[in-house]
Symmetry: C2
Subunit: 451 residues, 2 copies
């Protein structure tokens, strides 16, 4: 079973990118073009996005090349000129990229990333860039919602087993960390990205012993300062009493029961009962971890119900962004060197022409006030520009940023969002203006192309 | 940006698999255990599953090993004994695997795959197997629904840009081919799996020329026998007339316009108008391809409305299984060598004990009649067993199966399904019985564990 690698990633694209490129090549269309990557509309119950996936996008652009095997496959399709395949054999990405750093809070219509490069290069990277940026942005945005719901508590990514494949597992862990997760259960994500890893035990562990109490005793001894016991294999209340029994029995051996986890049933009621059992036994600092099909809505209910809980394991619903499992990211031609600004007028799919910048205005209270999308050459005062130059002539302008910085940026931005945008159920709008020059350009371009 | 590879895939697991394994190792728990992978309940509007992902699962099991870098990372966590890390350094998967071949139609509660191996090995592969099998099975099942909807027409996977990462893109193409897709736009999936690739042009192509008609003319000349023109960049009807103009102008050059594609607007009404325009010009064999947020429901509406359409491009909704973006796959301990059959009694999560086989009974009409889950040693007559031995002592028992065989198996199975299960909107049940021996074992085990 083959994996995606740096060597074959160039083929991870829609065929039409290559047929279009072949046509551009044949006709010497080597002029520069600018494409914007943005989300047309936020899904229901999404009042903002948290940008993620840029690091992967830049890595792909840096490594982009068609190796011998890829070229051989393309030749076998009998669809491409030898001259075009020759051209592909030495192709590298030589363009400029402007982008919002990962962890930035963004809104619909705002370019999250903008590529200016010779037309062929800018075109063939479309599919991969969309795949990388929209997926990770979707998950980081979902995780930020969970972060809003948990408040002072923490949450851990448990999604790997239900994520959409191996790479989705890795990236869901990464993106949910950017969105505020404290840790992940995904060991490879821990190893590759330095995310703290966290884990407890499964029901199969409990069932592999002659009795639940044997299982608890053994595990607590094996991990004396970090044991988290899963107490719902047979009956939660009985499981809680057994956990207490083991904690008391092994206290002299230096065992400290860090937490118990409940993964099924009426989590709120059970957590209350279990808290009482733990407290009665003096185990006040043994924490309660809840898991089992949780999302931001369910977490919010539990928190509002003042359920005694210390941390949440959040899996499937976050790792698949289950209530909005895709994000309508698009990558559109907005300018080219030959004829300037470009627009598309397809029903419901109109695009904003020209090369752009996004400006954020902050109010006197330190909160985000409005954004404005402008042309990139326009001078706009009193705002923070969000698009940074991250690649110049195919080379990164900065070293990769540490993941904790991205998380910090996201959490700071969530604090600076106008309060109504933090609602998990109410759709709320943040004002994104168009600058005067962009407005005029949009009008002119539409007239021109309708003509 | 690192990729998942054979070298690091062993770490693509939840941390708890490794902490449990460490505990098993310390206590010499080296006995064999059997885990079943199954789906507890089908999501709403899913009357069956199409199994996929086995090839990836077997590849993973064959290649499973912890390399030096992985071991170094695990050591850095300061959570594992050196003796356990030593053990991991030589670990290979040595177990047996029984599974349904890919493309098999299956139902809730039926083991899709069953692993018997030394407890530690069987445990640590849980997360990866769930990730591989449930994701691909979910997509193949969704694609089979699209296949039901399209009837005699064909559909093409266009999902890559919205799939959940790179690996999801590859596997969605593969799984949707198993479920009945005729082709994919994903070039890497074409290259690695031999799936036919297919593609048209994007709006950006049209916009890169001075006029739409220039773009059409150029593309049609470049791909004289395969050009599919996208006609909705500005206005569909005008686009259709321009496509006709180009086809007529270039007919003498041997250009044959294969198809036009409409990607936005009221697809049904537009397709009718465009068909009339093409027919009026004598372009009867120029096909119409529709795309744009299609799923099985929308496709069915179009087909029922007798819209003139030849093929569908189906993307996001299929590649993310948008109406059911996760499948509740679980992997449960059902038997071990030390104490026999195992059950778990957590609320709503009861499991069936024992090592099993799944039998399918076919009626006199050649249609599937009922399935029966039995113990593996039970003799059940007149049925076809669905679980095959696919791995013995860590080695595959067969060469990988060609993908077209899997697709053939799926399509034959869809034809053999009782008609009411083919409904896309009505939830319908197929009878899955438990054998008498399995029923008694279930009762006994529950009593034993409640005791």
């Amino acid at each position: 079973m083959p994996w995606v690698t740096d060597a074959n990633a160039a083929l991870l694209t829609d065929l039409y990118e290559l047929t279009m490129a072949a046509s551009y090549h044949r006709h010497g269309m080597t002029h520069d073009a600018t494409f914007d990557l943005f989300v047309r509309e936020l899904p229901r119950h999404r009042n903002f996005l948290v940008v993620a996936g840029l690091e992967e996008a830049l890595h792909y652009l840096e490594e982009l090349n068609f190796d011998a095997e890829s070229l051989e496959y393309l030749a076998s399709l009998e669809m491409f000129d030898p001259a075009f395949l020759d051209y592909l054999s030495t192709l590298r990405f030589t363009g400029d990229v402007w982008a919002m750093p990962e962890g930035t809070v963004a809104f619909a219509r705002e370019p999250l990333l903008s590529v200016t490069a010779p037309l062929i290069e800018a075109q063939i990277v479309e599919t991969f860039l969309l795949n990388a940026i929209t997926f990770q942005t979707m998950i980081a945005s979902k995780a930020a919602r969970v972060d809003i719901a948990v408040g002072e508590r923490s949450f851990i990514d448990f999604s790997l087993r239900r994520d959409h494949g191996a790479d989705a597992g890795l990236k869901a862990a990464r993106a949910s960390f950017i969105g505020g997760a404290a840790a992940t259960s995904n060991v490879l994500a821990g190893s590759l990205f330095g995310i703290p890893v966290n884990g407890t035990m499964a029901h199969s562990y409990v069932m592999s012993f002659d009795s639940e109490v044997d299982a608890f005793r053994t595990f607590a001894r094996d991990f004396p300062d970090r044991a988290v016991l899963l107490i719902d294999t047979f009956d939660v209340i009985r499981g809680a009493h057994r956990a207490v029994e083991v904690a008391q029995e092994l206290a002299d051996e230096g065992v400290h029961l860090r937490a118990v986890r409940i993964d099924s049933g009426d989590l709120g009621a059970l957590a209350r009962d279990v808290r009482a059992i733990l407290d009665d036994a003096g185990l006040h600092d043994t924490q309660i971890v809840l898991s089992g099909d949780l999302d931001e809505y369910r977490v919010k209910e539990l928190i509002e119900g003042e359920v005694p809980v210390d941390a949440f394991g959040v899996g499937t619903q976050m790792g698949t962004s289950a209530d909005a499992p895709s994000l309508g990211g698009v990558y559109k031609l907005v300018w080219d060197e030959r004829s300037g600004p470009k627009v598309k007028l397809s029903t419901g799919k109109v695009t904003l022409p020209g090369r752009k910048q996004v400006h954020r205005f902050t109010g006197p209270d330190g909160r985000f006030h409005t954004d404005m999308i402008s042309l990139n050459k326009e001078e706009i005062h009193g705002s923070t520009p969000l698009l940074e130059k991250v690649m110049m002539e195919g080379e990164r302008t900065h070293d990769p940023e540490p993941l904790v910085e991205m998380q910090r940026r996201c959490l700071a931005s969530l604090h600076a969002l106008p309060g109504h945008l933090l609602s998990l159920e109410q759709d709320a709008n943040y004002v994104v203006d168009l600058s005067p020059d962009l407005r005029s350009l949009e009008r002119e371009a539409a007239l021109h192309f309708r003509a």
